[in-house]
Structures are given as C-alpha cells and as structure tokens.
C-alpha cells in the first residue's frame, strides 16, 4: 500500500520568543514493512541538521530557529510504501541490544495493579512460547485499559493509566511495556502514523504502539489499543523507552512564553488524499 502523510505542527506564542530548538524523529527508516518514496521536513526560517541514524535505527535531526518568532510551523510530508509483515520488524538496521530494553522509566514503572494483571495473564503460561505470552499480555492490556480520549494526559504514567482503567494509544503502549518487562520480555515504545479509515477521509493519524522482542523472531509490534499487530496501514517513525523518549518532536522554546500548539496529521492511501 502507498500512504501519503501530511503532518503539521504549529506553535503560536503569546509574545515573540527567541526561537526554538528541537530534535526530530520524524523520518521513517527503511525496513521490510516500509519504504520511503519521498519525504521532506520543512520549517521556515530554520537551520536543519543533517539527519543522523541512531543506534536504534531511527532518523534523528536537529532543527533550530534563532530569531524572534511569534509563530513556528513544522511541516512533514511524504509518501511511503508499506507492506504487511504481521507486525514483525525485519530488515531494520539497529545496534542496540534488545536486553537494554528491559529497564523501566518513571512512565513505565509498574504498580501493584499492573503486576496483578501480569500474574493473571501468565497464570499457567510460564512455559508457553514467548510469542504467545506477548499476545496474551497485549490482550490483557486492551481489556484492562479502555480506549477513552481525554481520560489521560501526555504525562500520564503506565501506573496512573492502569489505575484510571482508561487511556489512549500512548497509555496502552506504556502499560504493555511495563507488563512485558515484568514477564522478562524486552519491550519499547514506538511512535508513528496510522491510516485508520478505509475511505481515506481525514482523521487524527498520530499513533503509538509497543514492540516486544521475541527471541528468534526479533521485534514485533503490538497495538493493544486496536487489538492487532501493525500492518500495511502503519508507518513507524521511531522508538524509545517510553512516550517521552520516543517522542517524534522533543524541543525547547528559547526565552519562552505561553505557547499554543496546533497539530494536524493526515494519512491516506495514495489517490484518496483529501484536499485541505
């Protein structure tokens, strides 16, 4: 499938600021699941660094604006050819040993409810193949955390989302990571895009899911929010230990003032993209 992406992030400031500096993880890397046909990142008035491929195989790029600005806009657009690999990340060049993804951060630190969830899901399954255990955990998380936009914020931790029993894709991913770690499986957070409607109608298409490492198979994506593994509707941007670590945009406003953020992400199969 060929997907087109148009992702705009606009910052509006109450008073002009000194500029911004950001580290972007906004360029899909090549794997058997995805191939970039064309891609561009545009920030008017900015200096862009050369994209670098980090140890996790993701493209990272510095962008900075160093002049007083009242408004800054980051526009990402491109076309990606995707293939369904049943969620398996193959042909993705990376150097980080999977075992490095066994550690927790503040956002993926489990609480009692999460460890209970894991014990329940793993009951009598200790000898089951790792892949089966991973599927069971993903299903348990989907069951335990209802999809409910607005129930959580960007800073919500896995433990908080679990207590709340509700959240969005970010929370599902972080809870699943906490569960996988408890089960001894390396797991990480993935940020990307999802083409969610068959007819290509515009929709909020930023998405996140978890990857769990299965010995012998490698990294496999689990989208607990949608109870599936990533397929040809998914575009993978980058990974990290949690939502903050894997964020597509990490930035700072220089001499900051109140900012207003406006994000729009459109993903559609080629030929079906709507005029804005």
């Amino acid at each position: 499938m060929i997907l087109t992406v148009l992702h705009k992030t606009r910052y509006e400031f109450a008073a002009p600021v000194g500029g911004i500096i950001q580290s972007l993880r906004l360029t899909p890397a090549k794997s058997e699941s995805q191939r970039v046909l064309d891609w561009s990142i545009d920030v008017p008035g900015a200096v862009l660094g050369t994209p670098l491929r980090d140890g996790a195989g993701d493209y990272v790029q510095t962008v900075s604006v160093r002049s007083p600005s009242a408004q800054i806009e980051v526009t990402v657009s491109g076309t990606v050819e995707t293939t369904d690999t049943a969620g398996i990340l193959r042909g993705h060049r990376e150097r980080v040993p999977p075992r490095a993804y066994l550690r927790n951060t503040v956002r993926t630190e489990p609480n009692r409810a999460i460890s209970d969830l894991v014990s329940e899901a793993m009951k009598a399954k200790d000898d089951a193949p790792a892949l089966e255990r991973a599927h069971l955990l993903a299903a348990a998380v989907a069951e335990a955390v209802a999809y409910k936009p607005g129930a959580t914020s960007a800073h919500t931790t896995a433990a908080e989302a679990m207590t709340e029993g509700a959240g969005v894709c970010q929370d599902h991913a972080q809870v699943l990571i906490a569960c996988a770690h408890l089960a001894g499986l390396p797991a990480r957070y993935v940020a990307g895009y999802l083409n969610a409607t068959e007819d290509g109608s515009p929709h909020e298409a930023s998405h996140a899911w978890a990857e769990i490492h299965i010995e012998g198979l490698g990294w496999i994506g689990f989208d607990a929010a949608n109870k599936c593994c990533p397929n040809e509707h998914y575009i993978r941007l980058g990974s990290g230990l949690d939502a903050q670590d894997a964020a597509p945009i990490r930035g700072l406003v220089l001499g900051g003032s109140e900012e207003e953020l406006d994000v729009s992400v459109l993903v559609a199969p080629l030929g079906q993209s709507q005029q804005q």
Binding site: I21, L48, G49, G55, S64, R103, R250
Partner: protein
C-alpha cells in the same frame, strides 16, 4: 608492639628507603616553625581560593580542605609497577566500553552477565553503535588505590566519568615547593606540573574527524555553585581554554557553538564536568538547564567530541568493578597487574548470606554511592548502627556490595604531639587519548582522625603531597 597496619615510613626493619630524607627534616623542625608553616600553607590555599564545599551539608562554602605537610613518598620501582597496572586498567576499561557499545563480545563470550551491562542505569542506549574518535570513551580515568603491604596494592574503585581532585595534586605540590624549597633541591622529586599540558593534548587528540584545524577545546562546568567549581576554573586556566556553562553553548545545524564577544565560535571538544543526565535536555532529562539542547545529535553525527563519552559510567559501576580483571584478560590477553579487593555482590544469594553473617567485619557500600556516604564500616561501628544498616541491606540487597575491611597502610602525619601514623589512599589520574599518559603522582587522601579508615574529604579527610622519587 607490631602495628596491624603497614606503615609506609617505618616497617619491621626500621626506616624505609623512600622516607630517609624526611626523617631529619621533621625531627629537626621546631614546633613553632611547624605551626608557622602550617599557617602559611593555609594562607596560601585560601589565597588560591582552593576550598571545598560539601553538597547538602551547608556550613561555610569557603571551607578549606585540610592539608597535611608531611609528604607521602614512593620509590621509582614502586611507581613503575603502579604505572603499568594503572595504564593496563585504563586500556581495559576503554576496550570494555568500546565493546559494550558495539558488538558486546565479552557478553557473547559469557564473561560478563548481559544484564549487569545492558540493564545498568549508566548504559546509554542513545550512544549504542556510536564510536567516538579513536574509540576512546573514558579520557580521564581516576583509579582509587589502597596499600596493605610493601608490595600489595588493591584497586578500590575506578572512576571513568569525571574524577575530581586533580587540582589538589597540583596545588599541594605548588604549596610544598614554595614552603620547603630545599626539600626539592636535595631530593629528586618527579614533577607533576606537566599534567595540564598532557590533559590538553589528550583532549585535542580526540577532536572529531571533521575538525580540520587546531581543535577548540572547552571545559563545561555546571556553574560556580558546584563544589568542584574551583577545580574547573583552575584546570581551564592551566590549559588555557575557556570554561563554559551550558548557556554559553548552543547547537545549530551539525555543530556546537560558543557565544563569544566576536560572535558564535565553533567548539570541537567538550571536557564536561557535568553528569550524563544533564548534558542535553532533548535527549536526557528534559528539565536540565545545565546542558546544551541538541548536543547529543551533534555528538553522534561527529560534530563535537564529549569527554568523557556519555555512557562511560557503565565501566565504573561498583557491580561491574568485579569484572575488571576479567576485562584485562579478555581484551588485552594479559594478567592483571593490579588486584581487585575481593567483593561480595549482595544481589547474589550466597554472597548476601555471607555478608549478613559477617556484617561486623565488613565494609558495605551502596552500588551507586560515592563520597563515603551510605556506607558501613563494620569494625568501626556500634551495634545499633550495624543493626540499622542490616535492615537496609535486607530490604534491598542488590543495592549493596561488601568488601573485607582492608588494613589500609599509614603514613606519618602531623598531629598536635608531633607525627603519628594515619591511614591513606591514592588516586592517580590516567589520561587516555592518542597516547596513554600518567604523571608520577596523584592525590593522597588521609584520614586525619586517629584510627579512622574513611579518607573522603566530605568526612573529615585531608590531603597530602604525593612524591615519586625520580630515577637516578
């Protein structure tokens, strides 16, 4: 009565060779003269501004670290062996870092448990797969040594991040030379003042490949409220480089620049004296105001070199320490010259059991602790202290390691009544760049309280000038 500790000046056979020239010196020194000299030394230190502020203790930030005028002396034979051992260890630690951020051969070979490395807090995923210039991660390796006999030295711990204290090594010598010039005229004390030049050369030697000019080296300090700020400014000044704070640097495109009165100036090498977590808010702690936003991207694309490399701390973790002799054998194919202190990992059930049974005889330390805090010296503690510590140990065993209480050697030290033996340790500073360098000397710390084995300056320790007698 024989002392239970090795006395570096007087052993069973009497006065030891390296101290021969000092016996007459201190014996012929009238008490008033000594008091005068001691006051002069303090005045000199205060004038130079060498003070030591202890984090979180409050009190006088301008407090002086106590200086003992009685030098500690090594013969050149003793030093030669130490030097070979220290350099060997520094090479092995760097080989280990190169390896674990690359293919991890030592783990694949089953010589070190994977989780000890990859699950270690200090292992930085952000630099996995990245090879810094010349493959060097730890450019300044401080190795803490203790001595228990004429020929017995043990490594207490390795410091691969940003070991501090080298300014004392340099200033102690400076002060001694000003106060007792005749001692240096009459003895062949090897100089240490080449350290700054060697450090600068080491740092310049690891400039990025992209750098096609005389490398611009800067020292990055957390600021003047930091307890080691004096050392930062002292070293920067000796090297003739700028001492910068995070706010003095900024990233644009593929490079890092310094704000100067003539506009932005490109920086090639950053000798950082701040922790990994604070280096770059866009990569590590987002609330850090001490670092430089975007720095890690510039670093990883070869636009600037950070010394020591982010992630170097995984080599000096107390849990990894046990495996350093193994690293020497694995990477260098050599037998380790310096021994480790036998260490029990409380994370291991058998070790924990032994430690709990022998708690009153052991020294127990936090895995990530430093500065002499959070440790128990069993034989020097009362029952209540031991019991309180035992409870902490039981609650979180993997946070602790234990070592036998070492019979630390003593050096003569000036006390009210004349001289008396006091326990000492030694931290030499090994420089790793294109070459591996070690100046003949280091920082000798001395536990000024009678019988105390804790030499940390935050716990009432002092410092001494450390001499290596040059070869004839």
């Amino acid at each position: 009565m024989a002392e239970p500790y090795f006395n570096e000046m007087y052993d069973a056979a009497g006065l030891r060779t390296p101290y021969q020239m000092l016996e007459g010196w201190h014996q012929n020194m009238p008490a008033e003269f000594r008091a005068l000299k001691q006051a002069e030394a303090e005045d000199l230190f205060r004038r130079y501004g060498i003070t030591f502020a202890v984090y979180g203790e409050g009190g006088d930030p301008d407090r002086l670290i106590p200086f003992d005028m009685f030098p500690r002396v090594f013969t050149s034979e003793e030093w030669r062996k130490l030097e070979r051992g220290i350099k060997q260890r520094a090479r092995a630690l760097n080989a280990f870092l190169s390896d674990v951020y690359d293919r991890g051969e030592i783990i694949r070979a089953g010589r070190i448990p994977a989780d000890l490395v990859y699950r270690n807090e200090a292992y930085e995923i952000a630099v996995a797969g990245f090879r810094p210039p010349l493959g060097v991660f730890s450019h300044i390796v401080g190795i803490d040594l203790v001595r228990t006999g004429a020929d017995q030295f043990y490594v207490l711990e390795d410091n691969c991040r940003t070991p501090s204290g080298v300014s004392y090594m340099l200033e102690n010598r400076e002060v001694m030379m000003r106060m007792f010039p005749h001692l240096f005229q009459e003895n062949r004390v090897a100089p240490v003042d080449g350290y700054a030049r060697l450090l600068k050369r080491t740092l310049a030697s690891v400039a990025p490949e992209k750098c096609d000019r005389d490398p611009k080296v800067v020292l990055l300090t957390p600021g003047h409220f930091n307890s080691a700020y004096y050392e930062h400014s002292f070293l920067a000044d000796l090297m003739g480089i700028e001492m910068v704070e995070g706010q003095d640097l900024f990233v644009e495109g593929d490079f890092c620049y310094m704000r100067t009165t003539e506009g932005p100036q490109k920086v090639d090498v950053i000798y950082r004296r701040i922790d990994d977590a604070f280096l770059d808010p866009l990569c590590f702690r987002p609330d850090s105001a001490l670092g430089v936003p975007g720095l890690m991207n510039v670093y990883r694309s070869g636009g600037v070199t950070i010394c020591s490399a982010p992630g170097a701390g995984v080599a000096d973790d107390k849990a990894i320490y046990t495996y350093v002799p193994e690293m020497v054998r694995f990477y260098l194919g050599e037998a380790p010259i310096l021994e480790n202190v036998p260490t029990w990992q409380c994370a291991k059930a058998d070790d924990l059991k032994y430690v709990q049974e022998h708690i009153a005889e052991l020294v127990i330390k936090e895995v990530h602790g430093s500065g002499g805090y959070g440790m128990l010296v069993g034989p020097k503690s009362d029952k209540a202290t031991i019991e309180a510590f035992a409870a902490k140990l039981a609650a979180n065993p993997s946070n602790y390691i234990a070592q036998p209480t070492l019979a630390l050697s003593t050096c003569p030290t000036f006390v009210n009544e004349g001289i008396a033996p006091r326990h000492v340790d030694l931290r030499p500073y090994c420089l790793v760049g294109r070459d591996i360098e070690l100046v003949p000397g280091g920082l000798t710390r001395v536990a000024l309280t009678e019988g105390s084995l804790v030499v940390n300056s935050s716990q009432g320790g002092g410092v001494k000038d450390t001499w290596v007698i040059a070869e004839e």
